[in-house]
């Protein structure tokens, strides 16, 4: 980049030195060259500044959060992650239930969303007739455009009653799973299960869209080769397409996970906001983002604010790690695609 531009620089300067003063017609080309050169420089400077600004912003946000969280981090240390006691009045802050709830609800979401998202992606890239691809793909993507508070309202008024009246009794009583720890206890509605199902709907378009693109990026020749060897369409997809797209699909799933981890509004509305760790999916839980959303606006005590900031720092850290893994996986699949 630098080498190229300096070579161009030398060429342009050489051209310029031969141009006599004044504006004779033959200097027009040189002028245009010079002008474009200034433009190039300015463009390089401006875009570099913008590009540098983005990571700088990320670093500043991270530093600001950690500085604000420091009193809590230094007071509670590791106990902040392992303790379940969150009592503002007593000055005790343990974020374990929120950490647990964030991770469990996200895992439930991925477990439910991945089959649907992959199924739709495979259908759209391999089976769907062309006239169907666009509209169905568009509808799947549209799920991502619904504001999360709308998802939350849908959760409260449609999903939670449905789970409470039908799904939860079905698992607990009809399938007799009530004796296992995972479906024990009363079914109030707002629960880890409700949060997981709602998040599944919300992350589905992300996983589906990424998977679709990755499947589409698998070279045509690879498909044709599999078919030429006598594979059926299903065998071709299973043995030639999916393995090639695997790490990209995993990247999509992890992008969905990142989305699920950070979701605030919708989860707050259906998870039940109870800071307790329970194995039962029917029991209410809590999430880190909900905890911050619930308590920050009324937090006046310094340690309380610091503890909420520490929760934020923890969430930030988890999200960055998850996104970094996703980037790496998508990058690795695109490198393979180029080879």
């Amino acid at each position: 980049m630098t080498g190229g531009s300096s070579a161009l620089d030398a060429g342009a300067a050489g051209g310029l030195s031969e141009v006599p003063p004044g504006p004779p017609p033959e200097s027009r080309l040189a002028n245009a060259l010079a002008a474009s050169h200034v433009g190039d420089r300015a463009y390089t400077v401006v875009t570099t500044a913008f590009a540098a600004f983005v990571p700088l912003l990320l670093i500043l946000i991270g530093v600001a959060i950690i500085v604000a969280a420091w009193p809590a981090i230094s007071t509670f240390g590791l106990g902040f992650i392992t303790s379940s006691e969150w009592d503002v009045r007593a000055g005790k802050f343990g974020a374990a239930p929120a950490l647990f709830g964030t991770i469990v609800s996200s895992i439930i979401a991925l477990a439910l969303a991945t089959p649907f998202a992959l199924g739709s992606a495979i259908f759209l890239s391999e089976f769907a007739p062309n006239w169907l691809k666009q509209p169905v793909g568009f509808l799947v993507d549209l799920l991502a455009a619904i504001p999360s508070v709308v998802y939350g309202l849908w959760g409260i008024f449609v999903l939670v009653p449905l789970l409470r009246e039908h799904v939860m009794p079905f698992f607990r009583d009809t399938l007799h799973l009530g004796s296992t720890p995972f479906f024990s206890g009363p079914a109030y509605g707002p629960s880890m299960l409700a949060a997981g199902v709602l998040l599944a709907v919300m992350v589905l378009p992300y996983i589906s869209a990424v998977s679709r693109e990755v499947l589409r990026a698998v070279p045509r020749a690879q498909r044709e080769a599999a078919l030429a060897l006598g594979a059926t369409k299903w065998e071709m997809i299973r043995d030639a397409v999916i393995p090639a797209a695997k790490s990209g699909i995993v990247g999509g799933i992890i992008l969905g996970l990142g989305r699920a981890l950070g979701e605030t509004m919708a989860v707050t509305m259906v998870i039940g906001n109870r800071p307790e760790i329970s194995a039962s999916l029917l029991a209410p839980g809590y999430s880190m983002a909900s905890l911050i959303a619930n308590e920050f606006s009324e937090a006046t005590n310094d340690m309380h604010v610091a503890a909420l900031m520490a929760v934020g720092a923890l969430l930030f850290l988890i999200t960055i790690v998850v996104n970094a893994i996703a980037r790496w996986l998508v990058w690795s699949v695109s490198m393979k695609g180029e080879k």
């Binding site: 200034v38 969150w86 503002v88 009045r89 009363p186 909900s290 619930n294 606006s297 009324e298 937090a299």
Partner: protein, 359 residues
């Protein structure tokens, strides 16, 4: 040649930016120097937001003084007052001494504006009469000690009522709120076990139950779940047609939460206030026979020593207007007005706000 262009471009940029900064400083000047038409900025409690926005809009129509209010929550209001980023704050829970000590502009005065109350809402299909509860029984329910609707403690208060043999589902606020502060202050006042346990605060460690975000979160959960009980603001419960319980007050009467019974609660303590009261007083569970026990004031937070004469004057004028003319609008929005006696005292107290010399 290219350098000329670069220089020209830079000059143009510089011209643009300096022009821009001139423009902003020009537009900022008239606002601060206009004097009498000061614009006030406030932030804080969400509970009184409907009445405040009505007051501010009425007051702007009448006098031309604009008051911007951000309902960011009592905690945020207190923080912004401490940092002096607003001209006044608003809160549902009075500032603690510790919080007042952190205010950068010196002493903060509390001016009560209107009254509110928490009501106990429940979902018991088939119940024909109003549920009656006492403070200690309510505390036991929220402590998880009374877990069935037909428990003897509840049945004794509701003779002849057919209470179901079902579990009680407790629903509380998950977000920090003045509503929770009022409710837990009441439980703390009436139940030693609650005082020793969760205590009073804008958010507490709840022994049992589900958390709903906002009044709508609690009300939505209670409406949907038979057997549930929760607390919401009176105004919210009335406007949404929720069922709510009669509460036994300190005089032993079962009182319905109404604007009159809430004002009566403030009236019961108004006589006990001295002239130099700081008005950080609780009207929880007072002695009056008609007083509703889970009532509270909501306050505006004003610095005693105002730094801007015009703004200070505007603030005092507004408060006087609110006390003298604003109370009917409050009733229309389901906020209980302050008792007349208290309002007269508060108007007198406005003189304790000190304006800088040259006002």
């Amino acid at each position: 040649m290219k350098h000329w262009k670069l220089v020209a471009a830079a000059a143009l940029l510089a011209a643009c930016s300096s022009e821009g900064s001139n423009a902003t400083s020009d537009s900022a000047n008239p606002g601060s120097s206009a004097g009498s038409n000061a614009t006030l900025t406030g932030a804080g409690a969400t509970f009184p937001y409907p009445i405040y926005s009505k007051w501010f809009s009425d007051y702007a129509t009448e006098t031309g003084v604009k008051i911007n209010y951000q309902s960011i929550g009592s905690g945020g209001g207190i923080r912004q007052v401490q940092e002096q980023t607003v001209d006044f704050g608003a809160t549902d829970a009075p500032m603690t001494n510790e919080e007042m000590a952190k205010a950068k502009g010196g002493a903060v005065l509390h001016f009560p504006t209107v009254l509110g109350a928490d009501v106990i809402t429940y979902n018991l299909p088939g119940l024909t009469s109003r549920l009656r509860l006492t403070g200690p029984v309510l505390a036991d329910i929220f402590l998880g000690r009374v877990t069935k609707w037909n428990a003897p403690a509840i049945a004794a208060l509701n003779p002849g009522v057919n209470l179901p043999n079902t579990d009680i589902l407790v629903v509380h606020r998950s977000d920090g709120s003045g509503t929770t502060y009022i409710f837990t202050s009441y439980l703390t006042a009436v139940s030693p076990a609650w005082r020793a346990g969760p205590g009073a605060g804008k958010e507490v460690a709840w022994p049992v139950g589900l958390g709903g975000k906002g009044n709508e979160g609690v009300a939505g959960q209670v409406k949907q779940t038979p057997g549930s009980i929760g607390y919401v603001e009176l105004a919210y419960a009335k406007q949404n047609g929720l069922a709510y319980a009669l509460m036994q007050n300190a005089a032993g009467q079962f009182v319905e939460p109404t604007l009159a019974s809430i004002t009566a609660a403030a009236g019961a303590i108004a006589d006990t206030l001295t002239d130099n009261s700081d008005y950080r007083v609780s009207i929880i569970n007072p002695n009056g026979a008609s007083a509703y026990p889970i009532s509270s004031m909501t306050w505006l937070l004003v610095y005693e020593n105002q730094t801007d004469a015009a703004k200070g004057r505007a603030l005092v004028d507004f408060l006087r207007w609110a006390y003298e003319k604003g109370q009917p609008a409050a009733s229309a929005l389901d906020y209980a007005p302050l008792p007349d006696k208290m309002r007269a005292k508060l108007v007198t107290r406005l003189s304790s706000i000190k304006l800088p010399a040259g006002a």
